[in-house]
């Protein structure tokens, strides 16, 4: 299987089926939710989602669920071991002849970047090591969103969060670069890793179409523009996501059979400022005075990333 086969070419090729209905209590314009909707279009209904505490926990509020498939809310650090328990149990039942293969489920973890990079990372690393057969969907809104946008290990350098505000002493806000979840997973050689964006539904659908046929640990990191935490108008989610790609800040890529492949390489990268200036969390980089050095660092980190592949 090549990692760049694409079955879907146009939007109208996508599966018309919706496994996730509208009308949830998540914020208008939530990029992560759109990513999940697109993913489930491809995965279908025979999915169990093991959810970590975070924004998505509010998808299923008793007695409602927007999902056609199954849902299990776990804890902030425990969605992956819960997935292990479900997977093991389904395997046992199939193997013992207690359940036909037709009853089998795709086991999927749904967790934010905070859970994925921080509290849930130890158990996840262990599950990758055990070669757990599951899909991990990390919606990356670059902070602890559900608790009001505090710093996570995935918060970007130069962005302000509630617990890493920009001050006279610490003008940049968050002072460390994001953890590289893609590379951390890659070090354990899982079956598949991909980054996806709600702005790239065809790329996303193709990646899920491929991954759903594989076995073993499969990670998706979904760029999740967050109007509430990032500070932009909900109608601009797609614009922000487009800028994340065009500036090269969010590379669309895959890891499969030992190789990393970039899917949509921005030919001529738009300056990162175009992406930053539209979001309140980066406002302090421009107002009252431009933080030239911080802006330059953000740009140079993006350039350095791409220079490895250009």
């Amino acid at each position: 299987m090549s990692a760049i086969t694409s079955n879907y070419k146009k939007i109208k090729d996508l599966n018309p089926h919706e496994s996730l209905s509208a009308g949830t209590s998540l914020c208008a314009g939530c990029g992560g939710l759109e990513g999940l909707r697109l993913a489930l279009k491809e995965l279908g209904d025979d999915v169990i989602i093991c959810n970590a505490a975070g924004c998505m926990t509010l998808l299923s509020v008793y007695p409602f669920t927007p999902l056609r498939g199954s849902w299990l809310y776990t804890t902030m650090g425990g969605p992956v071991p819960a997935a292990q328990g479900v997977r093991d149990a389904l395997d046992i039942r199939i193997q013992q002849g207690d359940m036909p293969e037709s009853e089998n489920l795709q086991v999927m973890v749904l967790a934010g970047d905070g859970s994925s990079n921080d509290m849930g990372m130890g158990p996840t690393s262990s599950a990758i090591h055990r070669k757990l057969d599951f899909i991990y969907f990390c919606y990356d809104n670059e902070a602890y969103g559900n608790t009001g946008f505090q710093l996570s290990a995935a918060s970007p350098f130069g962005g302000a969060t509630q617990t890493a505000p920009s001050t006279g002493l610490h003008p940049a806000g968050a002072e460390l670069p994001k953890k590289d979840l893609f590379e951390i997973w890659r070090a354990q050689n899982p079956t598949y890793i991909a980054t996806v964006s709600p702005r790239e539904p065809i790329d996303l659908a193709n990646k899920f179409a491929k991954a759903k046929l594989m076995k073993g640990p499969r990670l998706f990191i979904c760029l999740s523009p967050c109007p509430t935490g990032w500070g932009f108008d909900p109608k601009e989610t797609h614009l922000i996501a487009k800028l994340a790609r065009d500036t090269g800040i969010f590379p669309l890529k895959e890891f499969f059979e030992g190789k990393v492949m970039h899917n949509k390489v921005p030919r001529k990268r738009v300056p990162v400022e175009r992406y930053l200036e539209r979001q309140k969390r980066f406002q302090h980089l421009f107002i009252p005075v431009r933080q030239e050095e911080t802006l330059a660092q953000i740009q140079s980190r993006v350039d350095a990333y791409w220079s490895q592949y250009e």
Binding site: S60, S70, T74, G77, A82, D88, S126
Partner: protein, 411 residues
Amino acid sequence: MKPNRKMMLTGNKAAAWAARLARVEYVPAFPITPQTEIVETLAGWFADGTMQGKFTNMDSEHSMFMAAGAASASGVRVFTASSSQGILHGLESLHTLCGWRVPLVMVNVSRALATPITLEPDHNDVLITRDSGLIQLHAETCQEVLDLILIGYHMAEDPKVCLPVLVNMDGFYLSFTREPVSIPDPGLVEKFLPKFKAVQPVFQASQPQARASAVFGGETYSWFKIQQDLAVRHAEKVFIEKAWRFSEMFGRYYLPVESFRMEDAEYVFVMSNSFATKGKSAVLKLRDQGIKAGLLKLCMIRPFPEKAIAKALKGCKKIAVIDQNIAPGRGGIIYPEIVSALFPEKTAGQKVLSVIGGLGGKDIREEDFGTIIQHLGNPKPEGPLYLYGEQDLNTFLKFERIAKPEEVARS
């Protein structure tokens, strides 16, 4: 009916045998002394094909309990075991899976909690789960460990219960002590406990469900929590039914509380777990001296069998509740529970003494029971009696002297 097989087993081996007889299909595991022998034994049996299903080495107790609960919600019979720091580490998961209302059995091998770190037993670990929604059964002997696990599965899987059950045994005193244990005939056990068939829908394609959803508002939250409380309370009746059925098939009978020489007892020790054996022996010796002593053993701690306790202690004037645990600033954890059970039918002139002993594996010696009797004879109310005497202090100081001889000499 085939004759029962008797074997010399440690409490840990007895627990593993119970899981095997129950035809457990899934064991997520993580080692911790003094529990490890249980999961090692089961690992061996899964590895050599004696047991069918899967044994998964997990990365922590938090993960282990998550996996256990999720597997039960997916339709297999689950067993797991832990102790001490493992219980603390997994506590979030324990509360979570109790709310999931999943039937399974876990064993806790009691070991005192850090700090200071030790391997030896007391009950602070198991009692930290007191309010989690687990059903708790406490074993005095290795035989009880085995039997209570089998009864535990029957109870956990009852449609009116659907809750995890914890069976407790003392580290070292039971976990590593070999006792004769009767292994019931597997065919009979299969009759007592048929193959697991979940009464609630389980995760599979034809029955999509949202489980453990968030709630908005106290009305919905309270509804679920009250349901849980009622189910745990109901488990007392179910336990009695299942234990009765067990006795009909295997000849050993259990009740939520066990009365030992309580008929005419004037002095009563309320105890649980393996030290109850020491208590029983003290009772017999006291009776030889003409002191009418008795013992009430708590086999079930959650649900708390308060009516049975009140009934058993009715009219008793001198009661000592021996807690092998300590809640700093409050004392023994079981003491106030016993007092509140007695309150509705309080006997005039009754003295209920709080006794704290056996912390971190410290022995409760025969003379300690004599000390308790003396204190019970004193009509004045008094605070907790710490079973910590001269001999204990000397043992402690002995080590101090070796480490810093000059300082000890000066003081």
